[in-house]
């Protein structure tokens, strides 16, 4: 006879294994790219040109404090580690709420926890699975460093640190799932805490007066372990302490709530109906306003921070000719001017806008899969109308987000005394939106023909496109590879003028793919709940 917890473990493994594999590959790839970059710049000797840059608070705010950068491991940890950690912790936090709160929301735990498995055991099994996943990712990172010839002790410490950081946020996600319902609220709260701790780390690293804040955030501890430098094992105790506290809170909270409910219930009475829900466009907008608000805040914060960094980085470049030469050697020479920096940042905004577009479009798939579109599409509007509205509302959200990010970018630059005009920031933001056109078309095409693959394949394509455009030039990848990335064809607006051919090309690709997708969507079976 199969025992409850064992079958739950098998179920969790099935739910997670593909995601874990992809994330592990991402971790290994990021580390491999970091190590390769270190070798390309000439190792420790090549770092001399970047010495001033490494001590810049602005750069520290972006990448973290550079510890042990004269080794391939330390350099990789500094260059890739912080954003790698951000990506992996975000993923595991959302996974934690999906596996626990998500399973309660859709009722799949109802049968489970009335059998041999209690709710507490089910939660404990999820927690154990998340911790094992975190450990595996840490192990993958450590193994990658060891394989690259780094010290086993330092590599092991890095793996343990990354694993503990990931486990900490996994447990935070699980705690949020006990406190809040539904899943969207639990995920938002957990992701909000994660982002707050990351921003706190940025502030602590960027503003020397408040550097003590580094000790108030797990991302700060992640730095303070100083792997490949002084290897401070004792910092890991902080992670362990927080893990114990969060686990205890999770257990205590789980004990005090009903299955299917969060400890903090929200009012379920709506006194007056929302004015917009009676129309397709209004309904689609109301379902995405939370998403739009969150993205606007996150992207605008990032933009404002980048704006603050423009002047210090450009000033630094002007005082370090060797640094300028290094940047030029690796294809980033344009970053030594303010407009060039804004143009280079366009790459990140392009990717952010593309993910926002996919997230907004994917809500349609989620609604369809849950059966929420059955009655509206059977007795109300045509599928195409719903899809058209989804694309229109998504476009509106993108334009507003881009405009507000341009304003925030300009505001940050203005505060720091930058010399880029507000119009230039708007031009750059508009240019960053162009990449979202083929991405939307690609997603819609997949939605029309292979809907279940739409999110994964599109997200993967965005990541690959970004990696090629961001690291390809520095790693001297062949032009034949670089041209495959649509981002490679976008000029550095406002430093360079718009490229009408690129815009028209991407618009054409987007429209053709979109039309193909609509054609498929109108003809295929709707998914049923």
């Amino acid at each position: 006879m199969v025992k409850g917890p064992r079958s739950l473990t098998a179920l969790l493994r099935r739910q997670c294994q593909f995601g874990v594999l992809v994330v592990a590959l991402g971790v290994v790839s990021a580390i491999a790219i970091g190590i390769k970059s270190f070798r390309i710049i000439g190792g420790a000797a090549g770092l001399s040109a970047m010495k001033g840059l490494l001590t810049s608070p602005a750069v520290a705010a972006l990448y973290g404090k550079p510890y042990g950068v004269s080794t391939a491991g330390g350099f990789t940890q500094w260059k890739m580690g912080m954003y790698l950690a951000l990506a992996v912790t975000t993923w595991i936090t959302l996974l934690a709420t999906k596996l626990s709160r998500g399973a309660e929301d859709d009722g799949s735990w109802d049968l489970l926890v009335t059998g041999r498995t209690t709710h507490r055991r089910a939660t404990a099994t999820v927690a154990a699975s998340l911790v094992v996943t975190s450990a595996l990712l840490g192990f993958a990172a450590a193994a990658c460093f060891v394989a690259a010839g780094e010290s086993v002790i330092a590599s092991g410490l890095y793996g343990a640190t990354l694993g503990l950081l990931v486990a900490t946020f996994a447990m935070l996600g699980l705690l949020s799932a006990q406190l809040f319902a539904p899943r969207r609220r639990a995920s938002s709260c957990a992701a909000g805490v994660l982002m707050a701790t990351f921003v706190m780390r940025m502030v602590a690293d960027g503003v020397p007066r408040v550097s003590f804040l580094r000790w108030a955030t797990p991302f700060g501890w992640f730095e303070e372990v100083r792997c490949f430098d002084s290897n401070r094992w004792w910092v890991l105790a902080l992670f362990v302490l927080v893990l114990v506290v969060v686990t205890w809170l999770t257990v205590a909270t789980e004990n005090r709530r009903d299955v299917g409910q969060g400890l903090f219930a929200r009012g379920d009475v709506v006194a007056r109906p929302h004015a917009l829900v009676g129309s397709v466009d209004g309904m689609i907008w109301t379902q995405r306003r939370g998403l739009a608000g969150t993205w606007v805040v996150v992207v605008a914060l990032f933009a404002a921070l980048m704006g603050l960094l423009i002047k210090p980085l450009v000033d630094f470049a002007h005082s370090n000719p060797s640094y300028v030469a290094t940047l030029q050697h690796y294809g980033y020479g344009s970053m030594v001017t303010s407009k060039g920096f804004v143009g280079e940042m366009g790459l990140f905004f392009s990717v952010a806008f593309a993910f926002l577009a996919v997230t907004s479009l994917h809500q349609l798939f989620a609604d369809e899969g849950a059966g929420r579109l059955d009655i509206p599409l059977a007795t109300g509007v045509a599928r195409r109308r719903w899809l058209d509205s989804t694309v229109s509302v998504t476009t509106g959200i993108l334009v507003v987000t881009a405009a507000l990010s341009a304003l925030a970018f300009a505001a940050g630059s203005f505060v720091a005394g930058g010399d880029v005009s507000t119009g230039d920031f708007f031009q750059a933001a508009a240019s960053s939106l162009v990449f979202s056109i083929p991405v939307c078309g690609f997603y819609v095409a997949l939605l029309g023909w292979v809907p279940r693959a739409a999110l994964g394949v599109t997200s993967g394509a965005i990541i690959v496109t970004f990696v090629v455009a961001a690291f390809g030039p520095a790693l001297h990848w062949p032009e034949a590879v670089l041209v495959l990335s649509p981002l490679h064809h976008l000029p550095l607006v406002p430093l360079a003028p718009w490229a009408p051919s690129a815009v028209i090309g991407m618009l054409g690709v987007g429209v053709v793919l979109g039309v193909l997708g609509i054609f498929g969507y109108e003809r295929r079976d709707l998914l049923s709940a």
Partner: protein, 294 residues
């Protein structure tokens, strides 16, 4: 010639290698209340989802009041209640009704208010706080208030309590009285027996019988409880089953009862009771035998 409210024309639907519907043809006249019966997985919901335009037929066609399924004209004439109603959890019941009515374009506001009262549902609550039954009530209110020509109801009362089931029957009765067509897929056979004049039975994707309930009864087995005859009754033509003692038997007769009645006229019968087969027994007679596919 009257245009059928719903016409399935040689409808076939495959899901990969699985044949969900196999050459199903059925016509339902305007104003009819038809039961759609079949065991789980027989193809009832698939047929309804094709009629709603949610699934595309592999071959064949569906017409709603003469319009191809999935077209704007067909949608405007349809109302639908699925067995498991999925709505947006953050919307209130009232917002859900506003959305569904806004998309359909037609609502009888006064009737909607009456339905909300009859079904006793708090429309100010968010959908996430609703039970399955309450979500079903919202979908039923939206469907009936739309006054659509054709109501496709796929196990619409599976989450309702007996009181609300009675309200549902009342609403179907009112809809039928107004000339609306109702197609009711249900496992509650007493409900189908009470509401429907005709039933369509489906098995493994094939339509096995379409008939009026009275017609089914005419050809169904009738049970006789007789005092005053012995086991010799089993030899009478038409008797398919018997049980009993020396002078009291229960026999089941399939087809005409004339031979039995003729036999009984020669016997010292002191008591005779008959019982017609219920729809459930008729249903089981169609499904409780191994399938033979040609």
């Amino acid at each position: 010639m009257t245009v059928p409210a719903l016409a399935l024309e040689h409808l076939t639907k495959h899901f990969g290698a699985t044949v969900a519907l196999d050459d199903v043809s059925l016509e339902i006249a305007p104003g009819e209340v038809v039961g759609f019966l079949g065991p789980n997985g027989a193809g009832k919901s698939t047929a309804l989802r094709v009629a709603l335009g949610l699934l595309r037929p592999t071959s064949g066609a569906v017409r709603v009041m003469g319009h191809a399924a999935g077209t704007a004209e067909a949608r405007a004439r349809l109302a639908y209640v699925p067995g498991d109603v999925a709505l947006w959890p953050r919307l209130s019941g009232e917002e859900s009704l506003t959305l569904l009515e806004g998309l359909h374009g037609v609502v009888d506001v006064a009737y909607r208010a009456r339905l909300i009262e009859m079904f006793d549902v708090d429309v100010h609550k968010r959908v996430r706080a609703y039970s399955k039954g309450n979500r079903q009530k919202i979908a039923l209110v939206a469907a009936f208030a739309s006054r659509a020509d054709v109501l496709l109801l796929d196990e619409p009362t599976s989450g309702l309590d007996p009181l609300m089931e009675r309200v549902f029957r009342e609403c179907v009765g009112e809809a039928a009285a107004r000339g609306q067509t109702v197609i009711l897929s249900s496992h509650i056979l007493s409900e189908v027996e009470h509401l429907c004049a005709r039933v369509a039975m489906i098995r493994s994707g094939r339509l096995v019988r379409v008939a009026a309930i009275e017609e089914l009864r005419e050809h169904a087995a009738v049970e006789f409880d007789i005092v005053g005859v012995g086991p010799e009754v089993r030899t009478v033509a038409g008797v398919t089953h018997w049980e009993g003692t020396r002078d009291r038997v229960k026999v089941t007769v399939t087809g005409s009862p004339a031979p039995l009645l003729q036999f009984l006229s020669t016997q010292p019968v002191t008591e005779l009771r008959t019982r017609e087969a219920s729809l459930e027994e008729i249903f089981l007679s169609y499904y409780d035998v191994p399938e033979t596919r040609g």
